[in-house]
């Protein structure tokens, strides 16, 4: 096991090196013009040259790459052109909001997916099965940016049941920043008004994001549940005279959920992806929106730093999945 973990970690370092190369390549070799975007099209050439010199963009590409890699090794991702702050500081500010949204979405998608999956399996090929499959597939099929808009229209503008965009209402006093996760900070500081308001704000984006990730979980739960229900120990349990309910929840479910556990890690990846769009719709101050804004103005240090960080989180999630698998199924340790 130890050797396997070591091998996977080394591989991840290699992959992350490659990831930095790809990110650097995208931003520096492809003909986008960050200085032009920064200064506007009509800037005088001297100013453009001066700016390029200031940013180190007049150096040969290899020197730029060297500077960049050296920076990464020192935990320095450069200064954002837009916010004029170190990118690492920006990430530290914006990532907790994304993480909080992702955690809520995972809870929703797992709860919904497991319930739908069990219903599908137990009532296989009945209308319950059809309904729950169609419902979960609908979730992955609707574009999250559109679902978000429509839900905002219904629940905020028309019904007025839930608050609109952002993490808090305008007049709510935010809690003192400890972890950066608003709800957690509210609890820690005992700011219940902010907690209630924050909870009302996270419902819609988390529901949109969570629903979009439900289908794969429901699918795996259904397949694995059907598999377990066919096995001998279930027949034994039934033969002993246990009620259907006990057999399903106490005996079958426990075994059927093992593959689901590993799927949660993969879901985290797809949530990071969906967060980019959901955060844009809901004005959520997270890393996804930060990257989108950076891309739109070609703020290249922010693009590189943000993308790199997302890739790091994504790889970590995948690593955890693989390690969990290795623990659960020793055959995977190759």
């Amino acid at each position: 096991m130890g050797r396997y973990v070591l091998r996977r970690l080394l591989l991840m370092v290699l992959v992350l090196f490659g990831v930095s190369v790809i990110v650097f390549f995208i931003v520096h070799v492809i003909p986008a013009d960050p200085v032009g975007a920064l200064l506007g099209g009509n800037a005088p050439p001297q100013l453009v040259d001066q700016m390029k010199h200031q940013l180190g963009l007049d150096k040969p590409i290899w020197a730029q790459f060297g500077d960049y890699m050296l920076g990464i090794l020192h935990g320095n991702l450069g200064i954002s052109l837009k916010s004029n702050r170190p990118v690492t500081q920006d990430i530290a500010e914006y990532f907790p909001a994304t993480l909080e949204l992702a955690i809520f979405s995972i809870i929703i998608s797992v709860a919904l997916g497991v319930v739908l999956g069990i219903l599908s399996a137990v009532y296989r090929n009945s209308w319950v099965d059809h309904f729950s499959r169609i419902f979960s597939i609908l979730g992955v099929s609707m574009p999250v940016f559109w679902t978000g808009l429509i839900l905002l229209l219904i629940f905020y503008y028309i019904l007025g049941w839930l608050p609109g965009t952002g993490q808090l209402s305008l007049f709510t006093i935010p809690p003192h920043r400890i972890t950066g996760m608003l709800l957690l900070d509210s609890i820690l500081t005992g700011n219940w008004e902010a907690f209630r308001d924050g909870l009302a704000h996270i419902i819609l984006p988390a529901a949109v994001l969570g629903y979009s990730a439900t289908a794969s979980i429901a699918r795996i739960t259904r397949a694995s549940m059907l598999d377990v229900l066919r096995q001998d120990f279930i027949r034994t349990a039934k033969a002993k005279g246990l009620s259907g309910r006990v057999v399903i929840y106490r005996h079958a479910l426990k075994n059927a959920l093992i593959p689901v556990v590993t799927l949660i890690g993969l879901t985290f990846g797809s949530l990071l992806e969906g967060a980019v769009l959901t955060e844009t719709i809901f004005g959520w101050p997270g890393l996804g929106r930060y990257i989108v804004n950076a891309l739109l103005v070609l703020d290249y240090p922010a693009i590189m730093g943000g993308t790199l960080f997302i890739a790091l989180m994504y790889s970590l999630a995948n690593l955890i999945v693989d390690l969990t698998y290795a623990v659960l199924d020793p055959r995977m340790r190759i």
């Binding site: 591989l11 290699l14 992959v15 992350l16 490659g18 990831v19 190369v21 790809i22 990110v23 995208i26 931003v27 492809i30 003909p31 986008a32 059809h130 499959r133 169609i134 597939i137 609908l138 992955v140 099929s141 609707m142 574009p143 940016f145 559109w146 679902t147 808009l149 429509i150 905002l152 229209l153 503008y157 289908a215 699918r219 397949a223 059907l226 598999d227 990846g269 797809s270 990071l272 992806e273 980019v276 769009l277 844009t280 990257i291 989108v292 891309l295 739109l296 070609l298 693009i303 993308t307 997302i310 890739a311 994504y314 790889s315 995948n318």
Partner: protein, 301 residues
């Protein structure tokens, strides 16, 4: 003369007899497809989508591109089924013509990413060792990103346009096919008939592309079908963020974005293109779900 026809007929009968297992297998698959209702519904949706894309110029009642300021922001009516947008363009016409853009994106992205992935996968699986190691590590690097984030970065760096959207999504999407084709190629190259072909004197590239690659195609094609919904969602997401297809081209995602600031009073601008995306993606996902059912040996029983 007569004997020749008989000989031909005999050959044909022989041909069919030799392929009987293949035909039986197809028949079985067809039967499974028919018994999977979701797959059938999905296929119907996709066929409708393709027909609409083909006949779009005949269907559309109005010009989808040029603006008509006297008819702006009209609600849905019999004249304008889906209403009009802030430039007075008929949204129904734009959605219909937009289907051609989405279909074009799906087609080209599948072709490029499927082709590139299969090529690299077969090369990696066939040669193994060093070549395999390099190609697979590159694949890992691309897989380390959530695909939308990487596609966004490519699209932004290349500049927003239809061509660049296609390039960005393809560059991100080939990895899945590379992994699949590699696994297949590794299995196939150990088969005795490959050894036989080599003994006859065929070179590496001939064996690879004429004898190994064709055998890798069916899993790749299945996977392509499963990915098509995602391709539309990615393209629409890029269009929505302003990093993909640019207005005035009626790409559905960018149309949803067009209506964002009019959402409260003129809900129809964003709503209908969004329904179009959901409808088509639903078709592909239904088909995909059915295919997974058919291929899953546990559910096949």
């Amino acid at each position: 003369m007569k004997s020749i026809t008989i000989e031909k007929r005999g050959k044909l009968r022989d041909f069919i007899a030799r392929r009987k297992p293949i035909i039986e297998d197809w028949k079985h698959t067809l039967y499974l497809w028919k018994s999977t209702k979701l797959a059938m519904i999905g296929t119907v949706i996709i066929v409708i989508f393709i027909l609409i894309a083909i006949f779009a110029p005949i269907i559309v009642p109005y010009d989808p591109i040029s603006s008509n300021m006297s008819a702006r922001l009209q609600p849905p009516s019999w004249d304008h089924l889906f209403g009009t947008d802030q430039f007075g363009r008929d949204i129904f016409s734009r959605v219909i013509v937009g289907s051609r853009i989405e279909l074009w994106i799906i087609f080209l992205v599948s072709l490029i990413s499927g082709g590139l992935g299969t090529f690299l996968g077969v090369v990696a699986g066939y040669f193994g060792k060093f070549v395999d190691e390099i190609i697979m590590r590159i694949t890992d690097m691309f897989l380390a990103f959530p695909s939308l984030v990487l596609a966004m970065a490519f699209a932004a760096a290349l500049g927003p346009s239809l061509t660049n959207t296609i390039i960005a999504i393809s560059v991100v999407g080939w990895t899945v096919f590379a992994r699949l084709a590699r696994a297949e190629a590794m299995k196939i190259k150990k088969q005795p008939y490959i050894e036989a072909i080599r003994a006859v004197g065929a070179g590496n590239s001939r064996i690879m592309f004429l004898h190994v690659l064709p055998m890798c195609l069916s899993p790749v094609l299945v996977q392509l079908t499963l990915r098509m919904g995602t391709i539309i969602l990615t393209a629409a997401g890029l269009g929505f963020l302003g990093l993909g297809v640019r207005p005035p081209l009626p790409e559905w995602g960018s149309m949803v974005s067009d209506g964002r600031s009019y959402l409260v009073a003129q809900w129809w601008i964003s709503t209908f293109p969004g329904i179009a995306i959901a409808f088509v993606v639903l078709g592909f996902n239904f088909l995909g779900d059915g295919i997974r059912d058919i291929m899953d040996p546990r559910l096949r029983r």
